[in-house]
Subunit: 615 residues, 2 copies
């Protein structure tokens, strides 16, 4: 398109943004209007995209990091012929694909859910990295950011990552409209404040007037021809641009225009320009990431193996069989044991350094490109990335997360390194799977099973060694459990997983000696939970004693309750969990101090039986 | 101390770090050895600190952001005479104050718990901001960072905040020892890579040789005399410095030295230098932050008020009565309504822009200086700061957090803006308090009550208006609940809070009309939970139906289970919660689609009664 046409297209995107928000009665037209020219030039002259084939491997990828400017995105989709005007006006209504903030669950042309600021760009970096190092394709990634979101640290984790990886297939466009939600940003229209930050992180930067379509056009061309560095285009714009009543005005964030009809007239009225978006280049050769026979590691019963070791070895084996599996780590691969994968498959291993948000964002981006990511760090440090995990679920991303060093049983390092909230955090994620193995063979089987699940899958591993209790051919279906001790006369049932399972077994054996038979269930699948087995144990033993190396809230104990919240008769429930703030001590001392070791379990069981709380 | 003495002191700190780790059999001596000279010069020549009066208002504040280098910190404490050699050798043992990573819960000279990297510096920024804008004291804040942790985005949120606020009372010392946990950092010994990043964020920077005590001494002097900007001292060091077997070697992170005796000899043997740390300046006038009569806002029954509005107004009133209350927000004060506080008390309001980690870090820092912070943003975006909240609990910080826009009931904005995991996340925090009011007067009372609690306190507020159902003089003790509908013949009990409480009341009234009396409990205190009232309801009605605008895991339903996990007979439990991924829709449509509106509640109750699941 020539300059005049681009100006017209920009106005059309503004008009349609105003119309969509007016029809909805809510939304962010002013944040759309500032970026309309930036979007018009990209759509008409630079983006290579086949809207009929959103999965086309040669497609460029566009990410709206400022997700609230969804009216602009949907107006662009309309201009490209992907949706019609009737659908545009369903914006934000029940059942519409056009949500307040875009999600790929509903619209095939959306790469990732945005709306929590500072996430689109990090995920864009992940897609660009996939393009360079996995897909070996020449698609470009374009990310449109707001200026407000540059205050998020995740942006600078991403800037660091992209600069270091020389991602010259990535262009970030910053819509510097000076105004955040409640007023001016820190840096207003000081474009250099943003540009010098990006430059410090080794980016190429271009500062432009964001409403000058020729300048925008030139900047995109310069970005495309820049090699060895990602490019940040810092564009001076006006929020609410094009309508006197809204232009550069405070207090109008996230509100439809007061007089939409007048504004549309001022913008030159409704248009119906149609953009013929450039087609992607011819399809590259299909990816060769095949799936061969899986040869998981095997351990003999009685061996002492840490589940983190089993994780690393199983992941390396999975990587050998599945060419689409990739691994990421937050600079603790020697602890999580993802280093085993790194050694065997260095070309599919991504060191994300101590930047957990960027690690998860990279995994989400790679998942979008069809790869199967396993991202590992200490369970405690995954809390750093909780918003990214939450949003991955909104995107419907397939994502494997591993948290090692869970619980007080890590020992001397103390509470800062102990994952004690991870089960609560991961269980609350929509459609998540939460797994917590207790032995090496079980870990290996679950690592393999995760690859084929939907949504966010979380595997919790432990630092210390524990005995192998299952044979290498045993199966561990997700949603299942294992009954390890059972008799007709069981007085109660101990439910445990991971480290506490071994304590539970020791306690059960001691109790058996004393003539107190108890059942023991290995609840390795914390979510979904094995309701049938728990219910049967409840009927047969009357009391469930849960034991977990986790806070008492949101973990194994609460998971067991899940089996009984449908109005059926409920067993007596007793819970052992970590209720104190641990200090430094040995693993054994920690388990004892927290009251979750074999002695504490046995003492609790005795008390329950003696006090006739249970039969 | 002169140069020779400083060199000796540095060696002593190394020797003591090696000894402490050797005695413990674990720990991070090599990470301590790299920073020993930096610490020696600070302790001997620049820090102003009275170890006998850690609360002295004039004390400088030292934060060990690289918390794993705790042997160095404890060795410095010993050199300053704060602990003796016997205690030094209790490092990492059960019951010792000298934990693997330092915490203020056990040691009075520790400002904040560290060990999750990238947190000490952000919290140091909070302390420095308190010094400038609240305490009006001239203490300095010194933060010792590792180079690896500069990959964390939280560091750059903090750099942005400190640069923008011109915190020239803050000095960050970066120990660039080139090696992270599993190998080299991204930038190795490229000091300028770090310096230019800090400069881009408007910091003064000084690059030095970190083992040259004269250079270090001059750099500290330059930092002290620099005005208008924080200073970052980027120091080139060697990990394991001083011992040939460890110096600049990979693979030795977090491990005691193999031959400690030999290393100690190589370092010149055990010394017993004692440092006379400079005293702080004379005590400034005591803070005038008094507490006058509290005049909370009042609403009449039947008024329609959003709890977020009540939060903002109550917070403003609390600020008028309590001079020590401060408020922070993540650039959404017009939505959370913390803007009401900002208007009345601008000198105690801190705009943290869209940087939730830094917002919580600032609050933690201010809390350490005796202020009572209330930090607000959308409930959904507090997920961004979960690691900081977790670590605040490790510190034992008093911290008030407010999450607005909770649940699907926010309406059209869609799932990215909906706090649906916040109760799970906050309940799992050690010693936390979790409150979820349903009406304006209740909100106001709880906002006031939070100020005097210990630990992390979380208040969940709602976007939409709801009727005032309590009089302004009603009391709402933390740990309590309110029984709003009750009769002898109640067939079951509905437990709800916030938005769903109003739905529950409507359902109960409809059921009453149909001849099905039900009890309704307002569970405004989600943690601690009112066990007595729940147990009584269980005994009297046999079935508890929980209804929450939150994911089914970790929220209100699980909190109710807390009342029944001590082996007592358990009632039948039924749970209504958000089990789908919402799209855009009106608040009413959202509640209905999630199955948590009055109609859904009534339908569930009818089913339970008709199917004779309950009596």
């Amino acid at each position: 398109m020539n300059s005049d046409e681009l100006v017209e297209l920009g106005q059309q995107l503004r008009v349609d943004s105003v119309r969509a928000a007016a029809a909805a009665g809510s939304g962010h037209p002013t944040s759309s209007m500032s970026a309309a020219d930036l979007m018009a030039v990209l759509l008409a002259n630079h983006l290579r995209y086949d809207f009929d084939q959103p999965d086309h491997p040669g497609n460029d990828r566009f990410v709206l990091s400022k997700g609230h400017a969804s009216p602009l995105l949907y107006s662009a989709f309309k201009a490209a012929g992907a949706i019609d005007d009737d659908e545009l006006l369903t914006f934000r209504k029940l059942g519409s694909r056009l949500e307040g903030h875009p999600t790929p669950q509903r619209l095939p042309w959306v790469e990732t859910a945005t709306g929590s600021l500072g996430q689109g760009m990090p995920i864009g970096v992940g897609i660009a990295l996939a393009g360079k190092r996995l897909d070996h394709a020449d698609y470009r990634v374009w990310v449109l950011c707001g200026d407000s979101e540059l205050a998020e640290g995740s942006i600078w984790e991403a800037a660091e990552h992209a600069g270091y990886e020389h991602l010259d297939n990535l262009t970030v466009i910053v819509d510097v409209n000076r105004l955040g939600q409640r007023g001016a940003t820190r840096h207003g229209h000081d474009l250099d404040a943003y540009a010098r930050r990006f430059r410090a992180f080794d980016w190429h930067t271009i500062e432009i007037e964001g409403h000058d379509v020729d300048a925008v056009d030139r900047a995109y061309g310069e970005a495309i021809s820049t090699t060895g560095q990602p490019t940040a285009i810092i564009a001076r714009t006006l929020k609410g641009k094009g309508v006197k009543a809204t232009e550069d005005r405070e207090g109008l964030h996230g509100k439809p225009l007061k007089d939409a009809d007048e504004a549309i007239e001022e913008l030159g009225g409704v248009r119906d320009l149609r953009v013929r978006v450039h087609a992607p280049p011819a399809t590259p050769a299909p990816r060769t990431a095949g799936r061969d026979g899986l040869d998981l590691p095997r351990w003999d019963k009685g061996e002492e193996v840490a589940t983190r070791d089993a994780y690393g070895k199983a992941l390396a084996a999975l990587g050998a069989a599945h060419g689409d599996v990739v691994a990421l780590d937050g600079e603790v691969g020697d602890s999580t044991r993802s280093e085993f994968f790194a050694k065997e498959h260095p070309e599919r291993y991504f060191e994300c350094y101590i930047a957990e948000q960027q690690m998860v964002a990279t995994a989400v981006g790679m998942s979008r490109r069809g790869w199967v990511p396993y991202a590992s760090t200490f369970a405690a440090f995954l809390t750093r990335a909780y918003d990214f995990v939450r949003m991955a679920a909104v995107s419907g991303s397939g994502l494997n997360l591993n948290g090692s060093h869970s619980g007080v049983s890590i020992g001397q390092d103390g509470p800062s390194q102990m994952g004690l909230e991870d089960l609560a955090m991961m269980r609350a994620i929509h459609d998540s799977t939460v797994l917590y193995p207790s032995d090496a063979n079980q870990t290996a089987k679950l690592v393999a099973a995760m690859a084929d699940l939907d949504g966010v899958r979380y595997l919790r591993t432990s630092r210390g060694e524990s005995p192998v209790i299952y044979g290498p051919d045993e199966e561990f279906p997700v949603g299942g459990s294992k009954v390890l001790r059972a008799s007709d006369g069981d007085r109660l049932t101990i439910v445990a997983a991971g480290v506490t399972l071994h304590e539970a077994l020791r306690a059960a054996d001691a109790l058996h000696e004393e003539g107190i038979p108890v059942r023991v269930i290995d609840l390795y699948s914390v979510k979904p939970v094995d309701r049938d087995t728990l219910r049967r144990a409840a009927e047969e033993t009357g009391c469930l004693l849960t034991v977990e190396d986790h806070r008492e809230e949101g973990g194994l104990g609460d998971a067991v309750c899940d089996a009984f919240v449908d109005g059926r008769p409920t067993p007596r429930l007793v819970r052992l969990a970590v209720r104190t703030m641990p200090g430094s001590a040995s693993p054994e001392e920690q388990l004892h101090a927290a009251g979750i070791d074999a002695e504490s379990i046995a003492a609790s069981a005795r008390l329950l039986v003696e006090e006739a709380v249970v039969r």
